[in-house]
């Protein structure tokens, strides 16, 4: 028996070893949608830019799917006991794609000069930083003004990409001609961009990690129509469809093809959470009972199963379950139209019309808005759908000109980075749709978020965040929908593509094609 077990274990070991042996060479054909406006990741941080340029540029750290930091440009790091000093030790053999050495001076320039000017999201986090210094070529020290819990979570390539000091120092960043031929330290180099057609990246032969990357080149195909993107996969032109490439109603058909694998992993860092903004300032949505009624009226399981192919999860509250400090000890809003009707009767809702803005991101979102409208109609809420394009939708939210509006936002792994911004009353300001757009004002919640952000221990932070989640879920400042599942679809012989918390965005470093 023992022998048989040993043999089986040995066989497993051998097969794992065989599978785990990466193959060098080959080309990846990937869809990119929409076409990125630019590949200079220090200047532009939209989704497609991060996906393509994430292979060109790097941050100091990467994160695994449990959001634990892993080495990237920094090979190790120390945090002082008081949580105020973060010291990063850099690899000493890193070169920019133009052959110049990468040093700590580039880190200081990127974080303290370049990105402070250009990166709206990062510069909010950098407000906690007192100084960034480089005592030698391979050491960088970040000194904080006060402890900041999520600090170790802001070193991912999209959040803090390293940009070359020797190219950008003293220039006008936005119009620097080098923006069209991006120079990074990453596993792939920029080779060619035929606008409207494709982007070509080729292997960085001088990459500092021995043997990596495995692929010779990556072709990113720009195909503007969702149906054509599905056809591109079906006819073998592309082999990888990153999350969101095709309409949800095509996902099942395409993923059932031969030699096709599908995964919804690789979004843990972003934790995309969808909700409906409810205008807390005026109209029926200003009444907490109305907002709770909306939660009870929605059949979110139906939305997940019918519109999202069963991928993703029904949201518990403001924090995504993949984000740190998530708690499920909160009130449950299961589908219960009777309870919704009772709440509406209690508040004395008289059938005032509420305007609902769908998210103008394609067919799935339009259908979702129609499904919600039907749910709300059924409990007696009068809903009028208002259509806009993306620019119009931006404007309406930024000007608070809505009653209910669909959206989804990223959480960046920590409530202090991606959750608090939606609920802090200090974050109520017209002109942006990433702040407290709903106008929720609760000083208790403010205090809890503020305390949790600077608390030193994880236990303490968990306690404070659990409490804030309970309060928010009771008040329903916004109507949480689903933790979205964006499936990456790919040929099964593409290996190790999605291994980190940002998936395809930095996935080609490890990816290889099995022969």
């Amino acid at each position: 028996m023992l022998t048989r077990l040993t043999t089986l274990a040995a066989a497993l070991l051998v097969s794992t070893a065989l599978n785990a042996e990466p193959v060098t060479g080959g080309r990846a054909n990937v869809v990119i949608q929409p076409e990125p406006p630019s590949l200079m990741m220090g200047l532009v941080q939209n989704g497609p830019t991060q996906m393509v340029a994430g292979q060109i540029y790097e941050g100091l750290l990467r994160y695994d799917q449990k959001l634990q930091p892993m080495p990237q440009l920094a090979k190790s790091w120390d945090v002082s006991e008081d949580g105020l000093t973060y010291t990063f030790h850099l690899h000493d053999n890193v070169k920019w794609h133009d052959g110049k050495p990468f040093t700590s001076a580039d880190v200081v320039f990127s974080a303290d000069v370049f990105l402070r000017e250009t990166h709206a999201r990062l510069r909010t986090s950098l407000e906690h930083v007192e100084s960034i210094t480089a005592p030698d070529d391979t050491t960088v020290i970040f000194k904080l003004k006060e402890p900041f819990g999520p600090f170790l979570g802001i070193f991912e390539a999209g959040t803090m990409p390293m940009v070359p000091k020797h190219i950008y120092e003293g220039t006008e960043y936005k119009s620097n001609p080098a923006n069209n031929t991006p120079i990074g330290t990453g596993p792939f180099k920029f080779k060619e961009w035929v606008k409207g057609s494709h982007i070509l990246l080729t292997k960085n032969e001088d990459y500092y990690e021995e043997g990596k990357p495995y692929l010779d080149e990556i072709y990113w195909h720009i195909i503007p129509d969702a149906a054509s993107r599905a056809v591109a996969y079906e006819t073998g032109v592309v082999d990888i469809l990153p999350g969101g490439s095709i309409e949800n109603f095509d996902v099942q058909r395409v993923s059932e093809m031969e030699n096709t694998c599908i995964t919804d992993k690789g979004w843990e860092y972003f934790g995309p959470l969808s909700w409906m903004w409810l205008n807390n300032r005026e109209g029926p949505t200003a009444d907490k009972r109305f907002r709770q009624a909306v939660m009870y009226a929605m059949d979110r399981n139906f939305a997940r199963d019918a519109l999202w192919n069963g991928l993703g999860k029904v949201a518990k509250g403001p924090v995504s379950s993949s984000t740190r400090f998530f708690s499920d000890e909160v009130t449950n809003y299961d589908y219960d139209p009777e309870k919704a009707k009772a709440l509406l009767a209690e508040m004395g809702y008289k059938g005032e019309t509420v305007r609902l803005l769908p998210l103008p991101y394609g067919e799935t979102w339009q259908r979702w808005a129609e499904a919600v409208k039907q749910n709300l109609d059924e409990v007696g809420i009068n809903v009028e759908l208002v259509s806009t394009d993306v620019a119009g939708w931006n404007q309406k939210l930024a000007e608070w000109d809505y009653d209910i509006a669909f959206t989804y936002l990223y959480q960046y792994g920590d409530p202090a980075l991606g959750v608090a911004r939606t609920y802090l009353s200090t974050n109520i300001a017209k002109g942006s749709q990433w702040n407290n757009v709903e106008g929720y004002d609760n000083k208790e919640v403010d205090a809890l978020f503020d305390k949790a952000a600077v608390a030193v221990t994880a236990e303490e932070r968990q306690k404070l965040y659990t409490e804030v989640q309970q309060k928010l879920v009771d008040d329903v400042p916004v109507a949480w929908l689903l933790e979205l599942g964006f499936p990456t679809i790919y040929r099964c012989n593409v290996k190790d593509l999605v291994t980190t918390a940002i998936g395809v965005n930095d996935g080609f470093k490890n990816a290889y094609i099995e022969k």
Binding site: R121, G196, Y219, S228, A391, G392, Q395
Partner: protein, 322 residues
Amino acid sequence: MLRFILMRLGKAAIILIAIMTLNFFLIHAAPGDPAAVMAGEAGAADAKFIAQLREQFGLDKPLLVQLGIYLKGVLQFDLGFSYRQQMPVSQLILDRLPATLLLTMTAFVISLLLGTMAGVLASARVGKWSDTAISSLALLFYATPLYWAALMAVLLFSVYFNWLPGFGYETVGANYTGLARALDIGRHLILPATTLGLFFMAVYMRMTRASMLEVSQLDFVKTARAKGLKSSIIQRRHIFRNAMLPVVTLAGLQAGQLVGGAVLTETVFAWPGIGRLMFEALAQRDYNLLLGVFFVSAAMVLLFNLITDILYRFVDPRIRVA
């Protein structure tokens, strides 16, 4: 003739400036602006950041000042800078122009040649089965929505039969050169150009047929027949030439749109042309780029109107005298 052309060019310049001014105000009347869209894509931004972008793009200046700056640039043949794509507008347009011209001109030639030929054929066999067949086909092409026809073409010829590539300008990564590349592009061109040409093909066919029939009833044709001229000569010299006037008008209209690209066809077939560039610029409120595309396509419409008017004078000597 030269005086006529110069006068028309002068008028065209004034019309062009008027069009640009109108476009400028129309675009700015749409909700949202490029700064908000770009900040939006970053996934986070505060009002300060958006204000900083607006200042960089010059969007903080009064509208009339912005218009003045823009028109001054245009007069110096400078179409401005696309902040979103971080490239000069003229460069972006020039990059896309060859692909668009290849697509639209192929579609133009296909539709004009086949449409006119089918129209002549149908008019010569009025009431016979070939006329019925051609007319029914024309009606079908005329009524089919382009988007649907395009998707069906891809489904049939690309997915099902696997005869032709379903999208793109050429095989990406194949690195063909010379004749092999030309053939590759040609294969990619067949589906989009045919789909795009279908509608106009139907229009040319119907117009040629109707016009031929109308002209054939006129007195000078009867006279020609009475003189005992051969039927083929009457068809060619007397009827066809006179029947072509409305077709030339229509061709002029279609030709004017060649540069504007074909938004739907270019989108479905992932053709890297100007139509898509324009559509994306519109969605992103990329003002300079959008105005640039409008400028080039408006200039082309005016140019082709002029060419049509000159052609008239050759096709129909009566206009030359008038």
